[in-house]
C-alpha cells in the first residue's frame, strides 16, 4: 500500500496511523520525544517546588494570595474537554470520516484558544494586580517559566493542528497524513497530562498553602 494512494472506506486499514514505514518510525520517534518532554517538565516542576513562595520582601504576593479556584477550574475543564474532542476526532479518523474528524479537531482548536485566552488574562491579572512578574522574585520566575512553558506548548499545538486542518482540507484522508494527525493528537493529550500536574501541584497545592 502506498502512502499517497487514494483511499476508500473498503481499503482503509484498522490502524491507519501505523501502516507505512515512515508512520511506524514517526510513532516510535514521537513517543521518545514525549519521554524527553516528561523529563523537561519535571525539571521545571522541581524548580517551581523548590522556589515556591521564595520572595525577597514579606509584603509580596504568595501562591495562596494569587490563585483562585474558579479560574483554575475553568481552565482545567476546558483543556480536559479538548482532550476528549481530539479523541473523538481520532475515532472518526479510524472510521474514515474525514469531514467529522476535521470538525472535531476544529472544536479542539476553539477550546485550546479559549484556554490560552484565559491564561493570558490570568498572567495579565497577576502582573497588574499583584505585581507578580517574571523578575519580581524567584517564585515569579519559576512560576512563569513552568506555566508559560506549558502555555507555549498549547500555542504550538494549536498552530500544528490548524496547519494540518488547512493543509489537508482538500486532500482527504490517506496513509500519508493519518500518522500526522495521530501524532498531533498525541501531543495534545500530552499537554493535558502536564496540565493535570500543573493544576494539582501549582494551583491546588498553592491554594492549600
Amino acid at each position: 500500500m502506498h502512502a499517497e494512494e487514494k483511499m476508500t472506506l473498503e481499503k482503509w486499514p484498522a490502524s491507519p496511523e501505523r501502516q507505512t514505514l515512515e508512520a511506524k518510525n514517526k510513532f516510535v520517534g514521537f513517543w521518545l520525544f514525549l519521554g524527553g518532554e516528561t523529563v523537561l517538565f519535571a525539571s521545571l516542576f522541581a524548580t517551581y517546588i523548590a522556589l515556591k513562595d521564595s520572595v525577597p520582601k514579606s509584603d509580596m504576593a504568595l501562591a495562596k494570595d494569587l490563585f483562585e479556584i474558579p479560574l483554575a477550574f475553568a481552565m482545567t475543564m476546558i483543556l480536559l474537554t479538548s482532550s476528549l474532542t481530539s479523541v473523538y476526532a481520532m475515532y472518526h479518523m479510524k472510521n474514515f470520516e474525514f469531514k467529522k474528524m476535521q470538525l472535531w479537531l476544529g472544536i479542539t482548536v476553539i477550546l485550546g484558544l479559549a484556554f490560552l485566552g484565559l491564561e493570558i488574562y490570568e498572567f495579565n491579572h497577576y502582573v497588574h494586580e499583584f505585581e507578580h512578574t517574571f523578575t519580581s522574585s524567584a517564585f515569579g520566575s519559576a512560576f512563569y517559566t513552568l506555566v508559560g512553558f506549558h502555555g507555549g506548548h498549547v500555542a504550538f499545538g494549536l498552530g500544528w493542528i490548524i496547519a494540518l486542518i488547512i493543509r489537508n482540507s482538500k486532500r482527504g484522508l490517506n496513509l500519508y497524513n493519518a500518522p500526522k494527525y495521530y501524532t498531533a493528537s498525541l501531543y495534545w493529550h500530552f499537554i493535558d497530562v502536564v496540565w493535570v500536574f500543573i493544576f494539582t501541584v501549582v494551583y491546588l497545592v498553592g491554594m492549600v498553602g
Binding site: 473498503e10 484498522a14 516528561t38 519535571a42 516542576f45 523548590a50 479510524k94 494539582t200
Partner: protein
C-alpha cells in the same frame, strides 16, 4: 507493508466489525473522560472545603492527579493497546527520571 486489517473476504462485514470495535473503544474513552472529570471535581472540592488539613489534602490530590494521568496515557493516548512496548519504555524511563529530579529538588536543594 502488510495491511493489518482483519479480512474475512467480505469487505462489508469487515467494516461493520471494525466500526463496532471502534465504537466500543470510544465508549471506554467516554467512561475514562467521565472518571477524569469526577476526579478533578473531587480534587477541587477537597481544596475548597475548609475542614480538611493540608497534610491530608496535598497527598490526596497528588494521588488523584496520578490516577488521572494513567487514564490519559492508557486510554486517550492508547498505551493500553498492543504495539505500545516502545512508548511504555520511553514514558516509564521519563517518569523515573522525572521522579528522581523532583525528589532531589525537594530534599537536597536550598530552601
Amino acid at each position: 507493508m502488510t495491511n493489518e486489517q482483519l479480512n474475512s473476504g467480505n469487505p462489508k462485514a469487515d467494516i461493520e466489525y471494525r466500526r463496532k470495535k471502534n465504537a466500543e473503544e470510544m465508549r471506554h474513552q467516554i467512561i475514562s473522560f467521565a472518571l477524569m472529570i469526577f476526579l478533578t471535581l473531587i480534587a477541587f472540592v477537597a481544596v475548597g472545603y475548609e475542614g480538611f488539613s493540608g497534610w491530608f489534602v496535598v497527598p490526596f490530590i497528588l494521588i488523584l492527579a496520578c490516577v488521572q494521568v494513567i487514564f490519559q496515557l492508557y486510554y486517550f493516548m492508547h498505551m493500553a493497546n498492543e504495539g505500545h512496548e516502545a512508548p511504555k519504555m520511553f514514558m516509564f524511563s521519563g517518569m523515573l527520571v522525572a521522579f528522581l529530579t523532583v525528589l532531589t529538588y525537594m530534599t537536597i536543594v536550598w530552601w
